[in-house]
Symmetry: C2
DNA sequence: TTATTTTTATATCATTCGTAACAGAAAAGG
DNA sequence: CCTTTTCTGTTACGAATGATATAAAAATAA
């Protein structure tokens, strides 16, 4: 219970945050243990003792990413009054999250393990599931809007959710290519211009 | 001039095509020499003799990709009568190119080297330039449409070009996550639904 | 002091890309 | 026809780096 033995010489949370930054900019495979330990300012045995493995560290880093950087993107989807506002908020919050000062990094969930073959299969799956879940969150929100009368029955909620998720994913690539926050916002605006037409009854 | 020495025992074009497939599904870093030589059915010294290096092989593979798989996407942009048709064609042709039978692979240009740090910097730059060029092609096409009267003056050609490129990039991620051709087509439809609103005078 | 845990440093074992050495195959020149 | 030249194919290797494990030293609580 009480901490016995030699106390840890580094802040676990802080080390994890640094690891997240490395994974965010380098991806899973491209982040070597050397990169990680240097950034975390610890030696590899400390890393293994504290986190278990590179893979486990990555999963914790993804969790942290979602809780911190990704926070403010998805949490308002169900609280905001309309589906339209919810989706617009997701896109604009993404544009904000993907750019930080002059740096544009895009989304860790989208970019950290894009090769579905080779590499670590469980890592790829982990991220893939999270992406799929995001689509589902949007889809459910749209369905709710149908039930509440905001959208007409017969709206293809899945198609619309997939479309907006696609735009969000594309924004990550643009960010990696150096797109500014302003550019990403403009993309969000263009995407939202679809709204009235998309939700029209067919 | 005439070929002297022992003749090559494999078809260079065929080997290159196989290498392209490997790079397409695995990306640059994730494609190991072992993966490549096995797929190409040659030993590594033959690879180095015929292509120079992994990097040079990749660049040739990208060229081949653009000439074959990517063909039919961009070549009609300037010949089709309207900008609207041009862009719709790019999106739909992309949806077709990114899916092949039951396989969905997305775009090599977008997916083969997404980490801009670490890895091979020249490879990343190569792909980044090609992506930027695609945006430019769209932008010029839109500008032409303005000049020809199809679109109203004051249309923000760059923003619209960037937006549609973003959708195309996002489609690659969706494809990697297993999206069917039908799903990608539906995404293209949603994106095109923006058209009338986007090109409205502000 | 003893037990427990972390740190540092080093070892390990696989895999990476790339090369050197040599044998085999064809054309060029006598 | 035989030798020389020039190229390819094969095998094996090398140097570097990857992730992970072990061993001894250090630090703290009981």
């Amino acid at each position: 219970m009480a901490t016995r033995g030699r106390p840890r010489n580094f802040d676990r949370k802080d080390a994890l945050r640094r690891a997240m930054e490395v994974f965010w900019t380098q991806g899973f495979d491209n982040a070597s243990m050397t990169d990680l330990t240097r950034a975390m300012q610890i030696n590899s045995p400390s890393l293994y003792a504290a986190f278990g493995s590179k893979e486990a560290l990555f999963k914790e880093a993804v969790d942290l990413y979602v809780r911190t950087e990704g926070n403010g993107i998805w949490d308002q989807v169900d609280t905001v009054p309309t589906a339209r506002e919810a989706i617009e908020h997701v896109l604009r919050a993404s544009a904000r999250a993907y750019t930080r000062g002059s740096e544009s990094r895009g989304c860790l969930i989208v970019l950290a393990a894009p090769q579905m073959q080779g590499a670590n299969a469980t890592v790829c799956d982990e991220l893939k599931k999270r992406r799929a879940n995001n689509v589902h969150v949007l889809e459910r929100r749209l369905q709710r809007a149908v039930e509440e009368g905001e959208l007409s029955p017969g709206t293809d909620c899945r198609a619309i959710a997939t479309y907006f998720a696609t735009v969000q994913h594309g924004m990550s690539i643009q960010a990696r290519d150096g797109a500014s926050r302003q550019t990403l916002m403009s993309i969000a605006d263009c995407a939202m211009a679809t709204w009235d037409k998309l939700v029209q009854p067919p």
